[in-house]
Symmetry: C2
């Protein structure tokens, strides 16, 4: 069985190599530059090898996105876990979300912008994605009415800020100010 194991391990390594290379190429030149030919050349294999791991380019991007969900969830949960009960938890979670988007713009794009087959807000939703959303609900504090809708609106605002900034539709400067406003508006002093 050890031969089979070795093969499986090598396949798994190549799977990871494809994902890492796709992400790096996207980070360097954008998703449009991630063509199956370039990706194959970068991993020193021919095109069809990609299709033995993934059904197509979209599935590669979905896999990169799934990794992103895990990282995002970890970052957000780190903030809610450390929550000392002070009122800064909401701000910290929002800041962590914006930081993630800033540090991994193309992964963010695959997760939340580009067409994806990943199901949101359904039973098939990946656990990491649910966890990330749950962090918003937690950060908004307990005992609030319509907390799911509230979290959706907060997330919408953050997402809007991210994509409008990334596409240069709102200025990069003002970042901090906008976060301040958002936290003030969604803080726990109910209006």
């Amino acid at each position: 069985m050890t031969i089979v194991e070795r093969k499986e391990r090598q396949r798994a390594e190549r799977y990871e190599l494809i994902l890492a290379t796709a992400r790096e190429l996207a980070e360097a030149e954008g998703w449009d530059a991630v063509t199956t030919r370039r990706l194959a050349a970068l991993i020193d294999y021919s095109q069809p090898v990609l299709y033995s791991h993934f059904k197509g380019k979209a599935e590669i991007m979905a896999a990169v996105a799934t990794r992103g969900f895990k990282e995002l969830a970890a970052r957000l949960e780190a903030e809610t876990a450390n929550a000392t009960g002070d009122t800064d938890t909401l701000r910290n979670v929002c800041a962590a979300y914006l930081d993630f988007a800033r540090s991994r713009p193309v992964v963010y794009e695959a997760m939340f912008v580009l067409p994806t087959k990943i199901k949101f807000a359904s039973e098939e939703t990946p656990p990491a994605l649910r966890a990330a959303f749950a962090a918003f609900v937690t950060a908004l504090g307990p005992h609030r009415q319509e907390s799911v809708f509230l979290a959706e609106v907060l997330w919408s605002a953050l997402h809007g800020m991210v994509v409008l900034m990334q596409s240069e539709r709102i200025p990069a400067i003002g970042d901090e100010d906008r976060l301040n406003i958002l936290v003030r508006k969604f803080g726990n002093d109910d209006v």
Copy 2:
């Protein structure tokens, strides 16, 4: 000169035909289906004719987007103009924005989602786009601190709701509830 005039008029008509056809095809099957070949076939001309009007597909989409800015600005200004001073102005403007996105999803996509050469928040920004943004500032009411940043955050929230809904990342139901929350949070009772 009458012959030249006729030619110019025919060219202008064909320009409009291209834009209308591109929009209709996008509305029917999405922007991916708007290929230069299909578009040319639909207007009963060959491909290169498109390039005598536009530099490329991106420019056609930008032209459709520009028309969209005008329509959006008109819709939003209709709400701020009718403002009787009551507190519903903000809600009406937000609702008008969401309605526009709902009624013209692909135009909205060209305006605010897809990569575009149209400059936002700069001196080259089209007047209609400025007017639309100004409507948000107005709707938020006078004498408010950081009114531009505030408007940017409001717009971000609305945009986030639109794109996350259109890409099925937040559920279609809850629409009304989310609007209620947003208006409550951004209402003029400063916190």
